[in-house]
């Protein structure tokens, strides 16, 4: 064996290239490469240590110590809506009922299902009704999607009201949260308007007459409606009053449908998103979820100095 080695070395030193030497060198390189491959493969066994993973998830996923638990929230663009820590008793839904969060979740569901429905809907008098039938019969999962959109909308109105009810019962509109309450009232109105504009879009008897009745009330607006108090005196007619502005005409027709569509899909969602952003921001700035807070006694109330 040694002799063979010596022989090989001599041959190498003398620069002789023999076939045997080449093959052996190839084998060596292959062996070295294989060892390296095995070594590197070992590191991929734990995907959480790879560069790809670490570049996406900047924080370790072993979330059992306080620092990582906080970082899980603080370093995530979606989750950092929440603070890192909250009142221990607010975690259970008995206090908050979770209705605000559920309302927001339903808004996301509605946006997603709504966008999908938009792929098959033309806001034209000729096509709108037909498109709903098309969705229900010729589009795979179209019926499910339409149903989900409608029921999520109804559910969202209910959860908004339950949320408002809860806020009143827990007094969470009191200082310093008064402004956030007002933003919430605006959001309630926007939710109802979203529901109302969406109601017309199928262009069926149900939607058509609901919107007719609704917008007919607009023509009775004082000062701005042609049938309201002092409207006629101000020169308002069915062709220039506030109802005309809403419908884009004096009747609920093609223009009204298109306007309802745009309000429903773009106008009001944009405005609602802005108000929601303010609403969530103020929740954090006003101190997070209001409670359950320690009870205050009547004797601890401050009395004004005057009396």
């Amino acid at each position: 064996m040694d002799e063979a080695k010596d022989q090989k070395e001599t041959k190498q030193l003398t620069g002789e290239k023999t076939e045997v030497g080449l093959v052996e060198r190839a084998k060596e390189t292959a062996g070295a490469l294989k060892e390296r491959a095995v070594e590197e493969a070992k590191t991929y066994k734990d995907p959480q240590q790879t560069q790809v993973w670490k570049s996406i998830f900047r924080v370790s996923h072993e979330r059992s110590d306080p620092r990582n638990r906080s970082l899980a929230i603080l370093s995530n663009v979606f989750l950092h809506l929440h603070p890192a820590k909250i009142n221990r008793d607010a975690v259970r839904y008995q206090y908050t009922w979770g209705m605000g969060g559920i309302t927001f979740y339903l808004f996301i569901v509605l946006t997603f299902t709504g966008v999908l429905l938009m792929f098959y809907y033309h806001p034209s008098k000729i096509l709108a009704f037909r498109d709903i039938l098309y969705l229900e019969h010729d589009v795979p999962f179209g019926k499910l999607l339409r149903n989900m959109h409608r029921w999520a909308a109804h559910l969202m109105v209910i959860t908004t009201w339950l949320h408002m009810f809860r806020v009143v019962l827990t007094g969470s509109y009191k200082r310093p949260r008064e402004f956030n309450w007002c933003v919430g009232v605006v959001l309630l109105v926007l939710t109802l308007l979203l529901s109302f504009t969406g109601y017309l879009l199928p262009d069926d008897q149900l939607g058509f007459w609901a919107v007719t009745v609704g917008t007919n009330m607009a023509r009775a607006t004082p000062l701005l409606g042609h049938e309201g108090p002092f409207g006629a005196q101000l020169g308002l007619t069915p062709y220039n009053d506030v109802r005309f502005g809403l419908l884009g005409g004096s009747i609920v027709d093609a223009n009204a449908l298109l306007r309802a569509y745009i309000w429903h899909c773009i106008g009001i969602p944009l405005v609602a998103s802005i108000f929601m952003a303010v609403h969530f921001w103020r929740i954090r700035k006003d101190g997070g979820i209001s409670g359950p807070a320690p009870v205050m006694l009547e004797s601890e109330m401050k009395v004004p100095k005057k009396k």
Binding site: S64, P66, R88, R92, F119, D138, V139, P140, F141, L145
Partner: protein, 207 residues
């Protein structure tokens, strides 16, 4: 749900143990914490092994649900029925056409009817370069595509410009009355260097 938060003891809250802890009105938890705050802080307890199975079931169910949703999402974009004009239509009798190129149905169906001495065929008026509609230049006896200048002879065979192959021909056949029935959803091609489909039975009507 209750046991988790109640057991969590975080980094020592500086609460001086002033006398025995006062039990709050209402429930008293089974394990009362001693008067001294604990020295070592542990948030998580060692997990019993059975939790891993539960966890796996939950994650797989979620993954399954989301996958199903994704598949539904994809399928949603492929309607089962569409409303497009029919690709099959009639264009009269072979005797109605003179020799050469007839542009009568170019606007209505995007085809030219071409009659030669031995056959009648229908050319689909789509340039094989990038899909524009060429013009028939009768005075020059050629089709010229305005987009990039591809030129085709009177039988729609390309001879100049970037077109890679002759214009396609639509399927033609005679119905019971002898009328020509065209089907533009079935096209015959002659790609360069490959099989010439123009002589296949449905590609022309022999006269």
């Amino acid at each position: 749900m209750d046991s988790g938060p109640n057991k969590e003891t975080s980094v020592a809250v500086a609460e001086s143990p002033a006398g025995p802890p006062v039990p709050p009105a209402g429930k008293v938890p089974a394990k009362a914490v001693a008067a001294k705050p604990p020295a070592v802080v542990v948030e998580s307890t060692p997990e019993p092994p059975v939790n891993k199975m539960r966890r796996r079931i939950v994650w797989y169910s979620i993954a399954g649900f989301l996958t199903t949703c994704f598949l539904m999402f994809v399928r949603f974009f492929l309607p089962r029925a569409i409303f497009e004009p029919s690709s099959t239509f009639k264009i009269g009798f072979p005797g109605d056409y003179a020799l050469g190129v007839d542009t009568k149905y170019q606007q209505m169906y995007r085809i030219w009817v071409d009659k030669t001495s031995d056959r009648l065929f229908v050319v689909y008026a789509r340039c094989t370069h990038l899909g524009c509609t060429p013009d028939w230049k009768a005075s020059e006896n050629k089709f010229k595509c305005p987009c990039h200048g591809s030129g085709y002879d009177s039988e729609a065979i390309n001879f100049e410009g970037p077109a890679p192959r002759p214009m396609d021909r639509a399927h033609v056949e005679l119905d019971a009355e002898g009328q020509i029935v065209v089907d533009t959803s079935r096209l015959y091609k002659w790609p360069k260097g490959e099989k010439n489909e123009f002589n296949d039975p449905g590609a022309y009507i022999p006269i």
